[in-house]
Symmetry: C2
Subunit: 286 residues, 2 copies
């Protein structure tokens, strides 16, 4: 068959099959059925590499910065001096890369259930995964929920960078039990953030996420960011704490050390991200 | 062929064919090659009807409110008493519907080049087009640029709801000449808004739009909104004026009359929409 008559495309299908995003693929870089899930890394024409789990895109290299910066720097700058950080999920290393931009950080525990994800990303996604070898990072390949249930008053910041709630490994990470364990694993002034889906195609999952989180944390606030690599591009995150507002702490002096390494996050965006369109305010009744 | 083995899909293709959004179609409602462009209206499974020109989606009924509210109410509330409004493009009627929510409005001129668009939307998209029959609305089927070049100091607000700049009818609406004509058609305290593409797949077109606009207007400011119905969902709008800042004028008393009819726009969103991620700030150097 002549080459110009064939093409390889990756279709991410959502909304019960009614909508799909279709990407032209240059090369298959890595493809494996691990014990837990299907792992794919593809080279695209103009979005860099994409990394998918069970057919759901986790990131593309061109636009992952919007997601990773916003899930990370909002809680990090809301804490006055984050030293001990826990990342649940996030085996691609994107969150860890952002966390380590803060010089106050002494220890990052990364709990990624699937060792093959770590291996694949270290080998084929250095743009996000290269900091996984930093000496401050400890990697645990186990279920996030069982890990955090053993912890007590240990972390300044906990970030949950999970897969979707309705399938596979991420499911247990959207429950009251898990959120309560996270609250207990935080120090008194600790801060929690998590991806919370989108209101366009996953409104029910988003609502459930906030409902469960509200049972566990006294303070829960949604914030949003443009995440063009995900369905609808309209991404919601959850900020939670025992009593700490998402105001920027000691920002000026700390920001200096990060200047030039941030491409989405800035202090005005931090504040603006907590402002929601009317329909979203009503959906989450906050 | 058994029915379950076939399906109709509409693929909107962008980024030089590297990316597409694919939608399952229930029915073809209307499909016509007009003198100017191909017009399609389809029934989807869960997004209501979609309306496309030359294969580019203009709206879906489920999510058009985010776009139409933000392109309209930001300029309308930035003006203290908008009476005379010009809408260029926007034959689907979505902008006109939003404009007419403001009781101060006495006259709306709608300049839609293609009479078949008006006809199709009146017949098959009543959710946006029903207000096109309002007695305050005058419809002109001619080129937006030549229409506005005849006007002088006539309008309080001008809204450009055009197709993309790189194809078909919208092309002349992204030039210095057109923007200068719009400035001259505005009263001294008049306000201009326009859709300005997205930074993800159309960054160059977005930059050009602002570059040309800056030649014509003393004050140009980008603002953003989540528009999940368009590629990337990350939509940029341009606000421009001779000297009027995009602050809300006499908001409280005016908002009362619109409460319950706004689903995205609120005053906090108005302000937050002018805050940009760092990479966008740099791209537009504002």
């Amino acid at each position: 068959m002549p080459k110009e008559n064939s093409s390889l495309r990756f279709d991410e299908i959502f909304s019960n099959g009614n909508v799909a995003t279709s990407l032209r693929i240059r090369n298959v870089i890595y493809s494996k059925q691990s014990k837990i899930q299907r792992i794919d890394i593809f080279e695209t024409a103009d979005l860099g590499r994409i990394f998918a789990l069970d057919g759901t895109i986790m990131l593309n290299e061109r636009w992952e910065f919007t997601y990773h910066e916003m899930i990370t720097h909002v809680p990090m700058f809301s804490h006055s001096n984050p030293k001990d950080v826990l990342v649940i999920g996030g085996g691609d290393g994107g969150v860890v890369r952002e966390v380590l931009k803060h010089p106050s950080v002494e220890k990052v525990d990364l709990v990624e259930i699937d060792p093959d994800v770590i291996e694949a990303c270290k080998n084929y996604l250095p743009s996000t995964a290269s900091k996984l070898s930093d000496p401050r990072v400890a990697i645990y390949n186990e279920d996030g929920k069982s890990f955090v249930m053993r912890k007590d008053t240990e972390y300044d910041v906990i970030i949950v960078d999970s897969t979707d709630p309705y399938k596979g490994a991420g499911e247990s990470l959207f429950t009251e039990e898990f959120y309560t364990a996270c609250r207990n694993a935080l120090k008194e002034d600790g801060i929690f953030s998590a991806e919370a889906e989108n209101p366009v195609y996953d409104g029910k999952e988003m609502e459930k996420c906030f409902r469960e989180m509200n049972k566990a944390f006294p303070m829960v606030k949604p914030y949003t960011a443009f995440v063009p690599m995900y369905p609808s591009g309209f991404w919601v995150f959850a900020y939670a704490s025992k009593n700490v507002l998402p105001t920027i702490k000691d920002g000026k002096s700390r920001l200096k050390k990060l200047i030039g390494s941030l491409f989405y996050y800035n202090f005005k965006i931090h504040e603006a991200s907590f402002v929601a369109p009317t329909f979203l305010e009503k959906l989450l009744e906050y």
